[in-house]
């Protein structure tokens, strides 16, 4: 059909780029740059976030403490003289606190360190309020210590600790009612003399939470224990439930409306906001079933319900990945459907199921909102008992809840603690994800 007039065509030499092609290539380069910029921006925000949190949080693993000699004066600590702990208990922590500050003052004077400008009360304030309490507990447990001179180490107060970490400066001290510039000067002299030191602080991981006035002794012990209880319980509950449900849905369920309903339900539940599970937990487990508020058991129940849909979806995918030829082979030698599934399919799907479960646990570990609703925002200062003693019913808290609770307090020392808690939380998550990667590499096959 050469009678139709010729169509407009691209002319010119191939060896020269015409203007339009140059423009199009420029647009191509710009487009590519947008892509790189998007990736770069996302990753840089990630790094900024991790860097700021880490640099602040790492500080909570160092803690300032004061070390000096304390003579346990029997006249002050045991006025009755009977070495009877019950009577000695009448001397409160205030009495011990005064003893400590007097002893510290004497210790420093003996070494030529001037306490000028710092009253006795101010000196007392530089010692953590936890100090008198722990000394008292020691003495009451062992009254024979009275009269001895011991080498006593106590944490420094939150502000002094902040000074050593750079949070508190002379400028901020001028405006702060809780610390004065003279106290900071004294602190400098104490540092020089080696009385005030900062050391690595493992106790951050083991101590329980502390009240607002004592950020220096606040620790993650209860939170870690609570999270551990909950993760253990969730694993015990969600793995059998999830695997059982997945096996039924994937291998046995007939294709009818009821099964459709279940599947639609599962995919919807996977997308429901976590706070709704918290509401469910509050209404059903606490109000109706009367389980104790803020207990690890209720937390675990709520987290199980939350994690179940994702585990079911992952487990079904693992079961589906096992090729039909395996099932056919088993049926061919006369195994029943159930034997086929449990003896042949399930073992092959196990690596995938395990990795899915660990990932589900990892996301449950980081959940906060539903736990807040079942009461875990409250301050928990004592460890829950061992699980065998009903510890799962004791009030507990969890790592992410602790992060939130500390972040809500106004003292920047608690923000530092919060960041430290995040480091611990992320460390656990990292370990779990590494386990998943290892499992995948070792066990997952390509059919």
């Amino acid at each position: 059909m050469t009678d139709t007039p010729p169509l407009p065509k691209a002319a010119g030499s191939l060896l020269e780029l015409d203007a339009r092609t140059r423009r199009r290539n420029a647009a191509e380069t710009r487009f590519r740059l947008y892509g790189i910029a998007a990736v770069a921006f996302s990753l840089s925000i990630l790094f900024v976030m991790l860097f700021t949190i880490f640099s602040d949080g790492v500080q909570s693993f160092r803690q300032a403490s004061i070390t000096f000699d304390v003579t346990l004066d029997p006249e002050r600590l045991d006025p009755e003289g009977n070495r009877n702990p019950e009577e000695m208990a009448d001397v409160t922590t205030i009495g011990y606190g005064n003893l400590l500050s007097d002893q510290l003052s004497a210790y420093m004077v003996a070494r030529g360190i001037s306490t000028e400008g710092v009253s006795a009360r101010d000196l007392n304030a530089m010692i953590s309020r936890d100090g008198p309490g722990s000394l008292r507990a020691q003495v009451l447990a062992d009254p024979t210590m009275l009269g001895q001179t011991i080498r006593f180490t106590t944490y420094a107060s939150g502000r002094i600790d902040g000074y050593m970490k750079g949070r508190v400066t002379r400028d901020t001290a001028a405006r702060d009612t809780n610390i004065s510039v003279e106290q900071l000067d004294l602190a400098d002299r104490m540092i020089e003399a080696g009385i005030l030191t900062a050391a690595f602080n493992w106790e951050f991981l083991t101590r329980p939470d502390a009240s607002d006035q004592r950020p220096e002794v606040a620790g993650l012990g209860v939170a870690i224990l609570g999270s551990a209880y909950m993760m253990g319980l969730v694993l015990l509950m969600v793995l059998p439930l999830g695997v059982a449900a997945s096996i039924y849905l994937e291998e046995f369920a007939p294709k009818n409306r009821f099964t459709d309903l279940i599947e639609v339900n599962i995919s919807n539940l996977a997308a429901v906001p976590s706070i709704v599970y918290g509401i469910l937990g509050l209404a059903v487990f606490i109000n109706y079933a009367q389980f104790p508020r803020s207990s690890a058991l209720v937390g675990a129940l709520v987290l199980t319900l939350m994690t179940l849909p994702t585990i079911i979806i992952a487990t079904r995918a693992s079961l589906r990945a096992v090729p039909p030829s395996i099932r056919e082979a088993a049926l061919g030698i006369g195994a029943s459907k159930m034997q086929t599934v449990f003896h042949h399919v399930l073992p092959l799907a196990t690596p995938g199921i395990l990795t899915g479960t660990i990932l589900g646990l990892a996301s449950a570990l980081g959940e906060t909102a539903p736990l807040l609703l079942i009461g875990m925002v409250a301050f928990v200062g004592t460890y829950p008992a061992s699980p065998l003693d009903g510890g799962i019913l004791d009030p507990a808290t969890a790592l992410p809840v602790q992060v939130y609770a500390w972040a809500s307090r106004s003292d920047p020392a608690f923000i530092e603690r919060s960041s430290g808690a995040i480091i611990v939380l992320l460390a656990f998550l990292l370990i779990m994800n590494l386990v998943v990667i290892l499992l995948r590499r070792r066990f997952e096959r390509r059919w």
Partner: protein
């Protein structure tokens, strides 16, 4: 018998049934295992299930039903006024339970005998004092009817526990005997066991449905109670949110809805471009090596708990936006704002959008890309004019799903957006969302039956409906338009 001991008893009986049934089956075949229909262990399992399952089911049912029956019986002991008011009744029952458990503790610690506890009468303050000595704190003096009800409660609970133990143990033993009688060599043990297992599997899958039912029911009933105290139109269309500790609060949904939607919009404006362009770059331009490093890094963002992002918003992003943008431009003075929360939620959702966009664009057949490149189009033209339009329904679905996640987000808004309910166009002002108020209402100091607390369930219902609606709509769009080029 305590529940723990009862459970151990059931377990032991089941184990015993296992052994007995297995022995009987093997014996009936004269020791010749081949003559058995099923493997010997199957007969054992049949025995164990027969002893254990009915007993466990009965135990579970009893535990659920007994408190209901007891409460129904005790209701008559209260004055008419208390019986008529549901919330007062609940409070009264709680008092009864507390006193009863206090009396239990008193008996356990040896401060009084069991009969002494049942016969106890006396002045309300005296009883309160007595219980306080044991360590049971009560909010008010113990009124005579509460004390009497508590004593009845103890009696009924005690009797109930006895009957429960008897029934459960009887069922377990009956199961054991029945199994032992049935297990002969021709008995199709495996089939029966498999049927029971199938039932168990089915029950496990209905947990999903039960959860949904639980969510809907619990929220509906409590929200219903709330709307009994506060008109639904005022809730849905109210413009102010002002809960008062002493009552007379206004609960208008609109400021919360505004804050929620505004923050989600900002989040989408951040997540969608960054997510889609990241996905485009990684799937169309990046080399395999680059992709294998960068993709997992972006996934790391998805693995970080939201509370970490919340702290980031509180400590870094909020002050940054306030100092660099809001204050200089006189737009606002607060670190908590819609921008803070919105931007951080957006960042959180970048991996979600990127991974969805990646899947969607990969689903576009390579042949279309080849056709476009063969016609002389550049890669960006191919993406813009062929791939993205073909993937558009999926991308719209991804946007809706990301919006749904942003709406349901709690921790970042709690820590980054503040708690002030307001309707404002300026995004550098603090506004709050539905989720924040749910947390506030349920963790505050107000009594459970007050409207200030129950409003949380109405809010929860709203949130659930909103997110569910978005998810269903997203699925519908994807499904409807996907057929276009399959």
């Amino acid at each position: 018998m305590s529940i723990a001991i009862l459970l151990s008893a059931i377990l032991t009986l089941s184990a015993l049934a296992f052994v007995v049934s297995r022995q009987r089956a093997v014996a009936s075949a004269g020791g010749n295992l081949r003559a058995l229909h099923s493997r010997p262990a199957m007969y054992g399992w049949f025995g164990a299930l027969s002893a254990g399952v009915p007993a466990l089911l009965a135990l579970a049912a009893w535990l659920i039903v007994q408190p209901l029956l007891i409460e129904r019986d005790l209701r008559g002991m209260f004055p008419e006024s208390v019986q008529a008011d549901a919330s007062a009744l609940t409070l009264a029952m709680e008092d009864v339970r507390r006193v009863a458990s206090g009396l239990d503790q008193a008996v356990a610690q040896g401060m009084m005998t069991a009969e002494g506890a049942q016969d106890l009468t006396g002045q309300p303050e005296a009883v309160r004092q007595l219980l306080a000595e044991i360590g049971v704190a009560l909010a008010a003096d113990v009124s005579p009817e509460v004390l009497a009800a508590a004593q009845d409660y103890r009696q009924m609970a005690h009797d109930g526990a006895l009957w429960r133990t008897a029934l459960v143990l009887a069922l377990a033993v009956a199961g054991l005997i029945a199994a032992a009688a049935l297990t002969t060599r021709d008995f199709r043990a495996r089939n029966h066991v498999e049927r029971v297992i199938l039932l168990i599997l089915m029950l496990a899958s209905s947990v999903a449905v039960l959860t949904t039912v639980g969510i809907v029911l619990s929220m509906l009933t409590e929200a219903g109670r709330f709307f009994g105290m506060y008109p639904i139109q005022d809730f849905l269309f109210g413009l102010t949110w002002n809960p008062q500790f002493r009552g007379n609060s206004t609960f208008g949904l609109l400021p919360l809805l505004w804050g929620t939607l505004y923050i989600s919009l900002v989040a989408l404006l951040v997540a969608v471009p960054l997510g889609v362009f990241s996905a485009i770059y990684l799937s169309e331009y990046a080399s395999a090596r680059v992709r294998s490093i960068i993709k997992p890094l972006i996934e790391v963002i998805a693995g970080i708990p939201t509370v970490v992002f919340g702290l980031f918003a509180l400590v870094t992003v909020g002050p940054f936006l306030r100092d660099v943008i809001a204050r200089p431009l006189s737009l606002g003075d607060s670190g908590s704002s819609v921008m803070t929360a919105g931007i951080v939620i957006g960042i959180l959702n970048i991996p979600f959008v990127a991974s969805l966009a990646d899947d969607i664009m990969n689903a576009v057949p390579q042949s279309l890309r080849d056709a476009s490149l063969g016609l002389g189009a550049t890669r960006s033209e191919t993406i813009r004019q062929v791939v993205v339009p073909a993937a558009l329904p999926g991308i719209v679905g991804a946007i809706l799903l990301a919006g749904s996640r942003a709406i349901g987000e709690t921790m970042i808004v709690t820590m980054g957006a503040g708690a002030a309910a307001a309707i404002d166009v300026n995004p550098f002002v603090a506004m709050t969302t539905i989720t924040v108020k749910i947390v506030g209402a349920l963790t505050g100091d107000t009594a459970f039956d007050s409207p200030e607390t129950l409003v949380a369930f109405a809010l929860g219902m709203t949130l659930f409906v909103l997110t569910l609606g978005l998810n269903v709509f997203a699925l519908y769009i994807v499904r409807k338009y996907r057929e276009q080029y399959e």
